[in-house]
């Protein structure tokens, strides 16, 4: 790990000023940042510790019906917040399907958005990576890339965004509240992460010094609570990143889908909201044929970035399964294996 200066500002304004200096990085729990620093993947010259900043640790329903999550709220705390989990069960399930209990006790909501890709070539300073070193090339292209992106990738970067949390948040239209040198601004989560294009080193809309202070779910986002699921296929049962995942939410009216939300994880460098699929579902009957058509629409335009063509059909099936499970109803309790597509479910024809 490189040497760095350590600064602990007392207010958000001080943190923004401190982090506006080039070479700075914000430190919250550090569960991703310290890992990257130990590997020499990133080498910030100064860490601005935001882990104690006041006013960023509340989970609260706002008077206008929106729901606000402070950036410092820990993953486990949010997932086990009863009011939050009742309103947004797919978000709670996604959180509990991610990382380990130890990491969920430490990692923050804001940090989850800003975690870096787990592409092995990004993590290996001996490999070429345009994200780590612009212009260096991409060793993932033509390398071990069976878990890489199938949507929205470019020749300069085929990595994926690793977050589970962000997938249902994108489906629910979450908004990111940002404090920066120019004041406060808000960005929809769908627009927060950037696709690689020719500048994969630029990962989000944040400018130097800008700090995520909260996430907000808009009023009405809890209308999907009765039919919400997150489904995540992993290469082992627990404590693994998604091969592909899907968040599905339905608002049912008299046996018909009145409104639907669908987003995919593990397929692109951002949580991938599938609005075309949502349009297919709106007004349709909740049956296997509908879910398959929606899944086809969700993966429209997908193509392999290497040895990962299988992920396209896998993502369709996980999307269709998430929709079928959502239609069956949100379980009263989060399953023993959160988000597992392999968990037995009664009353649902998973293979329609």
């Amino acid at each position: 790990m490189n040497r760095f200066d350590y600064i602990r500002p007392a207010t958000v304004a001080e943190a923004v000023t401190a982090a506006s200096v080039p070479g700075s990085a914000f430190l919250a729990a550090g569960t991703n940042l310290l890992d990257l620093m130990k590997g020499g993947v990133v080498r910030p010259e100064r860490l601005v510790d935001v882990s104690r900043l006041p006013g960023l640790d509340a989970v609260e329903a706002l008077p206008d019906g929106a729901f606000r999550i402070g950036a410092r709220v820990r993953n486990a705390e949010l997932a086990h917040d009863r009011d939050f989990a009742r309103r947004f069960p797919a978000v709670a399930e996604a959180l509990l399907s991610g990382a380990s209990a130890q990491l969920r006790n430490a990692a923050t909501a804001g940090g989850n958005l800003l975690q870096r890709t787990r592409c092995a070539y990004f993590y290996d300073p001996a490999s070429a990576c345009n994200k780590r070193e612009p212009g260096a090339g991409c060793d993932a292209l033509g390398g071990e890339n069976r878990l890489h992106a199938v949507l929205g990738w470019s020749e300069s970067c085929i990595a994926t965004h690793p977050s589970d949390f962000c997938v249902p948040l994108a489906a629910l239209g979450a908004v990111v509240e940002i404090e920066g040198p120019g004041g406060r601004r808000e960005v929809p989560l769908e627009e927060f992460h950037l696709l690689p294009g020719s500048t994969p080193e630029r990962e989000s809309v944040l400018s130097p010094g800008e700090l995520v202070v909260a996430l907000r779910l808009p009023a009405g986002a809890d209308a999907f609570a009765a039919h919400s699921r997150y489904v995540k296929l992993r290469e082992r049962t627990s404590y693994a990143f998604a091969v592909v995942s899907a968040a599905a939410m339905l608002r049912m009216e008299g046996g018909t889908i009145a409104e639907a939300r669908l987003a995919l994880g593990g397929v692109a460098l951002k949580p991938w909201r599938a609005r075309e699929a949502e349009a297919v579902l709106a007004g349709a009957r909740p049956d296997a044929a509908t879910f398959r058509r929606a899944a086809e629409a969700a993966l429209e335009g997908a193509h392999p970035s290497g040895e990962n063509g299988f992920k396209i059909e896998l993502a369709r099936r996980i999307a269709a399964r998430a929709l079928a499970l959502a239609a069956a109803g949100t379980p009263e309790r989060i399953p023993a294996l959160p988000a597992s597509p392999l968990a037995p479910v009664t009353g649902v024809a998973l293979h329609g």
């Binding site: 130990k38 882990s51 209990a101 404590y239 294996l337």
Partner: protein
């Protein structure tokens, strides 16, 4: 520049002068406070051998910067037994043969103590396994670990054992 921090470690206030902000909580415990029970396995948050309770919550001490936790309460494996009497989780690990080489055991036990405090798993072995998935055991003692955790949890409920932290 130096950083002066105070931690409560296993109930005792400990004052440490850090000449380098890079020191993790794990390195501080092992190298500066001679508490070598917490193990350095992967040092990257993947194996759980370094698990301690930080302000009552189980975390990977290898991924916590010590300077960032000034004022915190830390409980390590050395702080569980009371007056020579093993903590119920420690006792259950022995009774259920829940280890072989023992390297991951302090982390497993601290994680189990944290898990029981979280009260999410109940008596469902599948939930216990899921809640303990952040602790790897290369000897593969998982069967015994699950039994030990379930048994200790039940006994702690009956005996009214309260954490000393």
């Amino acid at each position: 520049m130096s950083w002066s921090i105070t931690l409560t470690v296993n109930g005792e206030p400990r004052h440490v002068e850090l000449d380098d902000p890079r020191v993790t909580l794990l390195d501080l415990l092992r190298e500066r406070l001679d508490l070598t029970g917490s193990k350095k396995g992967c040092d990257r948050g993947q194996c759980g051998a370094c698990t301690v309770l930080l302000d009552g919550q189980r975390v990977n001490s290898c991924l916590a910067l010590a300077v960032s936790h000034d004022g915190a309460e830390v409980v390590t494996i050395e702080g569980l037994a009371r007056s020579g009497v093993l903590h119920p989780v420690q006792a259950a690990f022995i009774e259920h043969d829940a280890f072989q080489c023992g390297f991951c055991t302090p982390g497993q036990i601290m994680s189990a103590v944290g898990m029981i405090g979280e009260a999410q798993a109940g008596d469902d072995p599948e939930r216990v396994r899921e809640c303990m998935s952040g602790n790897l055991c290369r000897c593969g003692a998982y069967q015994g670990i699950t039994e030990a955790v379930l048994d200790a949890q039940q006994r702690m409920g009956q005996d009214g054992w309260e954490e000393a932290a």
